[in-house]
Every structure is written in structure tokens, then in C-alpha cells.
Symmetry: C2
Subunit: 131 residues, 2 copies
Amino acid sequence: MDLLTQKNIRATTFRKEVLAVFLEHDYAISINTIEKSIGKHDRITLYRTIKTFIEKGILHEVLIPNEEKKLAMCQSECSSDGHQHDHIHFKCEACEEVYCKEVDRVPQLQLEGFKVKSIEINASGICEKCG
Amino acid sequence: MDLLTQKNIRATTFRKEVLAVFLEHDYAISINTIEKSIGKHDRITLYRTIKTFIEKGILHEVLIPNEEKKLAMCQSECSSDGHQHDHIHFKCEACEEVYCKEVDRVPQLQLEGFKVKSIEINASGICEKCG
DNA sequence: ATTTAAAACGCAACATTGTTGCAATTATTT
DNA sequence: AAATAATTGCAACAATGTTGCGTTTTAAAT
Ligand SMILES: [Mn+2]
Ligand SMILES: [Mn+2]
Ligand SMILES: [Zn+2]
Ligand SMILES: [Zn+2]
């Protein structure tokens, strides 16, 4: 069964094309990259598609300071009830791509006086392929 | 001695006003907030001021998914040679502000096959004041 | 103190990124 | 097959960020 149907949205041609672009990459991509990959396209529909995909737990934003906003696919746990990521974002200084990388245990954080509910990590360095 | 002079840029009226806005807040603020705080202002000059401040290690961007871009002051270690932050970003679900929070030890991260050079953490939960 | 040179400012014009309303189209349900 | 609901595509707009250039301000040199 189709991922789109699973997430309770209609599996239209446009959405399948957008999804296909994400499946072709193993790293986070920008809206620009998507636009270049899909042939004819309507910018507005693309923005709405992305918004829907984020709401439904198909995509999530990947924000790195001083970089273009990027998007990447979620794991199966995410849904309209919320996102749940056990992964970090890793920006490689060599290939310059940003990878979503699963980790067994996301490092925890203790902050005196603060109640920490969730944590999100962006690391940088040299990736597996470039190492 | 003035922070601006310390960082080797001219301490103009405009820059001092922008800096003052940051000193009034103990959390990250948006460009919109700055614009509302300084009386008359030129948007272009503000954008250039921010860019300069980031380059000189006075400000850094604070990016949280699905939120307006924010900015916050750096610690003294940052300079045009680079930023060096031993702090995390904490978004409070109650007051909705994002705080830069110093930590004694930033949690480390081991990734099989990856060389981790730096790490950046965004946490969320309930802050000290709201707890 | 005056002159000079560099840096910063302010304006106009533009580029990029993202949103809203609405009519036409497409997908699902009856 | 018809009715219904979701999605699309267009136009128009709003928000965010950039570039060029002449004027003003600042710091340095005389
Ligand atoms: Mn990710
Ligand atoms: Mn910070
Ligand atoms: Zn790499
Ligand atoms: Zn709070």
C-alpha cells in the first residue's frame, strides 16, 4: 500500500511525483531541488503539498543556520498526531549534504530548573562517504 | 569599551540601537521584534546590520522548525574567525520563547563512520520561569 | 582643527520565498 | 453515473531578503 494512502491523503499524480524526488535522495533537499526535479510544476501547489506532507508526518523541515531551508522524509512513526524522530541531522563539510541519521540513543540533557521534553540535534563534520 | 569597537566595527547610532534591543531581552528575538522596538528604521540597513553582526560574532541565528527565524547574542568567544557556542537552544512550550542556555558540558555524540566536529542542540519543554 | 578616505546609511528597485481566494479539475463516495 | 469532497492551477498579494549607488557619517591623517 501506498505511503500517501497510508497517511490518509489522496495519492495524486503531483504528490507521487514530489514523493518520488525525496525517495531518490538519501539526504535533505531544498524546495529548489524539488522544483528542478519535477518537470512542469505549479509553485503554489508544491508549497501546499509540502505543508500537507509536514502535517501528515511524511516530511519534516531541516534547518541549519545560514543555509537554505531543507526538507526530508520522516520515519513511519510520524503522523498528524505529531512527529517523533529518533535521529539527528548531520551536515557534511565535504559533500555539503545534510543527512538524517538514525541513532540508537539520542543523547539526553539535564538542565537545572528546566523540564526537557524533547531534543533535536544538528551535528557537522565528515560523513561516512567522504570520510 | 564598547562591544562594537571590540569587534572592530564602527559604533554607529543605528548599530547601538539594534544592540540595545538584544540587551533588553534574555531570549532570541525575530527581525520583526527588532523593527518594532527601534523607532524609525530602514529595513535594508537593518538586514545589513544583522549580517555584519553575524559575521563579526555578535549575533547568531536561532532556527526552530515551523518558527520565524530568530536571532540572539553570542558569547564573547565568537568573532569573525568563527562562532563557538557552548550553549543549547531551549524553546519553552508555555511562554513560547527560545532561550540560549549555557551548559557545562554539551552532550557528545558518537556516529559509526562519521567524524563529528561540532554539535548543536535545540530542546523544548518548560522553562525555569514557567516551571 | 581641517582635510581625506573609508565605512555605513538610506533610497529605489528588484529577487526570492511563501500565502490566500476562487474557479476548474480530479478523486472518492453514494 | 451523479453527487460530494479534496486537490489543483491561476492571479494577486504579502513577507522576507538583496543589490547598486549617491549621500552622510565616522575615523584617520595632515
Ligand atoms: Mn531529519
Ligand atoms: Mn544561541
Ligand atoms: Zn559527505
Ligand atoms: Zn517559559
